[in-house]
Symmetry: C2
Subunit: 451 residues, 2 copies
């Protein structure tokens, strides 16, 4: 039996996760639209044999363009550009089930999977907030529950479409002049609450069968969706007990729906600020925090908390009266995490902004490479994580130092691969290739194309 080993994903964001990182001397402030910047980052991650790179996304321009680099390249486009200059690293794009059509999106992920030779992953999000809704003809977002209901049906449709071609449908028989076998390509005839989709997909089945499915919401709806579909879960926790509770809950939920819990990898976010000494790491962290302009962050925080910016005095704690999580239709678990962090540590608004500015609620950790390794191993060994979502505060430097100084220590301890052992993203995460639902259950009704 192989030892249990870590999975590491690099969560990339323009000049880094720290909101002031773009002001560092090293930073290219136009990195947000610079494909070469991202191609270099992915090559660094691949040099470290990381499992994957990942991009967050929402179909809306967030916040204030004064604050930090704003606007981005659409993730499936960006990951395709990265695929062309890498060979192994996995490519995970975020895409919304609320503001896409399943046929278009299933097709695009299948195409990325072909183009990358089996390295595509999809972080499924339901997209919180009224501003995104207003880009798609709605006055406000659908309710949290309605968004997750649609997401579940969206995934069913996507999986049917990915399975609509058998793996051996293309015969390519030049002699007889028959290219494909019509009985192995089928309509899906999906009729549901949200979608009616005939199929088949216009892309042959892709190298991974289905792209890897990732999920990142930790609300009740998010957890039950993840239990059903997610093969990797990105999550945010500040303390070991919180992370352990989440980990145990998700594994239990996966088992409860009949899945092997090891087929769902739990990856908390960590924002490592790494120095060659503790003092150097602290200095780097302070340099970044000093560059934050709190007036920008206060407006954003007020939006998340559904209060007026005037209610947030920079040197006072949060107001005693705040909305209940139940009233929040947006990113529920992120809301609760922020409020709990502020209350637990009695942070002023200014201090809270400093903590969030580094990683928006994820575990921030400054220290030497050895200390980062200890922080990683602690959670990995104590039932809190199958790996980590690495969120460098500044890029490219934060990724480089992680790959060059932290990864070799993990390899030496036998906790991380020294070389890629497989070729697909599923190989890296030790996940099997899905068997087509139509081949699992050959009596399921279908109508062959052209029949």
């Amino acid at each position: 039996m192989p030892e249990r080993t870590l999975h590491l994903n690099a969560f990339l964001m323009s000049t880094g996760h720290h909101e002031a990182s773009w002001r560092l001397a090293e930073s290219n402030p136009y990195a947000n639209t610079d494909v070469a910047h991202y191609q270099r980052l992915a090559q660094i991650a691949e040099r470290g044999k990381l499992d994957s790179v990942f991009f967050a996304d929402s179909p809306v321009l967030f916040s204030d363009v004064g604050r930090r680099p704003s606007g981005a390249l659409e993730p499936t486009v960006l990951l395709t550009a990265i695929a062309a200059v890498t060979t192994h690293i996995g490519l995970i794009a975020t895409a919304s089930t609320t503001y896409n059509d399943p046929y278009n999106l299933a097709r695009r992920f299948a195409s990325v999977d072909h183009v990358s030779n089996g390295r595509a992953g999809w972080n499924v999000v339901t997209t919180a907030g009224p501003d995104a809704a207003r880009n798609f003809g709605l006055d406000d977002q659908p309710s949290h529950a309605a968004r997750y209901e649609r997401a579940a049906e969206f995934l069913e449709v996507a999986q049917k479409l990915w399975d609509s071609w058998d793996d051996d449908a293309a015969l390519a028989d030049k002699e007889s002049g028959v290219w494909g076998d019509n009985t192995k390509v089928r309509t899906i005839d999906h009729i549901g609450q949200h979608f009616r989709v005939r199929g088949p997909l216009n892309v042959p089945r892709s190298p991974q069968g289905h792209p890897l499915i990732v999920q990142a919401g930790s609300s009740e709806d998010g957890r039950s969706f993840a239990a059903q579909y997610a093969e990797a879960v990105f999550t945010a926790h500040q303390t070991l007990p919180d992370a352990q509770r989440f980990y145990a809950d998700m594994k239990r939920r996966a088992a409860a729906v009949g899945r092997d819990p090891s087929g769902m990898k739990i990856l908390p976010g960590i924002v490592p600020v790494i120095g060659s000494t503790e003092a150097e790491a602290t200095r780097l962290e302070r340099e970044l925090d000093d560059l934050i302009k709190p007036e920008y962050a206060r407006v954003q925080l007020a939006k998340t908390l559904r209060v007026s910016p005037d209610d947030l005095a920079l040197d006072a704690q949060l107001p005693a009266e705040l909305p209940d999580e139940d009233e929040i239709e947006g990113a529920k678990s992120r809301y609760t995490l922020i409020v709990n962090l502020a209350r637990r540590e009695r942070l002023t608004v200014r201090q809270l902004i400093g903590r969030l500015g580094g990683g928006r609620g994820h575990r921030t950790f400054s220290g030497t490479p050895e200390q980062v390794v200890e922080a990683i191993v602690d959670w990995f060994d104590h039932g809190a994580a199958d790996g980590f979502n690495i969120m460098p505060a500044a890029l490219p430097s934060g990724l480089e130092v992680f790959v060059d100084q932290v990864v070799p220590l993990l390899v030496k301890r036998g906790l991380f691969r020294a070389e890629y052992e497989g070729v697909t993203l599923r190989d890296h995460y030790a996940l099997s290739r899905p068997v087509s639902r139509y081949q699992r259950d050959p009596d399921r009704r279908w109508e062959a194309v052209g029949a």
Copy 2:
């Protein structure tokens, strides 16, 4: 004043436009999902300094998978993969206004334009046929007129979104900590018949401002749409007089809406089958036609003509009674072209299938490189074309021979560039970069983000 010179686009399709091309010994029958195949083709086209490569598209699996390589990579994904291995050639993707949301698609084209440093083009289609409609929750396609009405509003929304960031909105002022200027990024607040879109786009204005807009339908609705928006028009004609009439009509329509007619390039399709002697070209053409299996093509032809396959006897002419163009809600101009070709040349169904198998109604031409040059120059010099949409019957050989044997003759005659003179797709087609509508008309109402 520079001489008037040709524009050449390579219209690429898996193993070539001839439906039997996949059966040739040279062909990779899995080319349809092989990104390396397409990257090589684009590099060949770039070696010839062609203006652009182009992919057709529809969000549906067409016809019978037995007939020819079926299923394809989604064009914006495919062109991004091509962008990564080329530096100059333009990249034109087809995308449907009927089955996309303007926010998502405007964003994706802006992203491809960034990733390619200004080489993106969009062939705007309204997507004919009930089968595509059934992949998007509809029982049948919207009417021809309704599809074009939506297309026009879609373009308006897309252009507003592309203009929602001024070119100089990003300040990147590290010293003061202000990244962008809020007064230069604005909501578009579009409220129309088909769409309500708030904006702004979440992508900064792209290198070309707007991707190049291409259009390919020649119906009345298609022509009037093209007159308004198209900067290049792909079209299909069998005879010089037909092509001249179309050319004159389109230039007149462009002028009638106040545009400079030279800002709309007319590019008829041509399927050149090239041999070093006339006999060799004829032999190659015959080899391809002999590989067609007429039973497949007959089913497809019947579908296009809205008749039963049983009504089409292979060795008889088309039935005397066929639907009127007015009754056709699909690809109207293609329908008429096929019926006219069959009637004019009194072709049997088998002969018609041979002609269509080579290029689906486009001008097919077999001959030596010198003869192909004459065929091109004849139309170019006689008011029928500003350039051509080159549709190789077999790939890669048909593109290689065009680039290596036809292009040098055109260059020698001063009709085609020997080197790229610009860097963007607009540069190649001698089209200007659009000025933002908000900068053209600064009093237009808008609401700054964060204001």
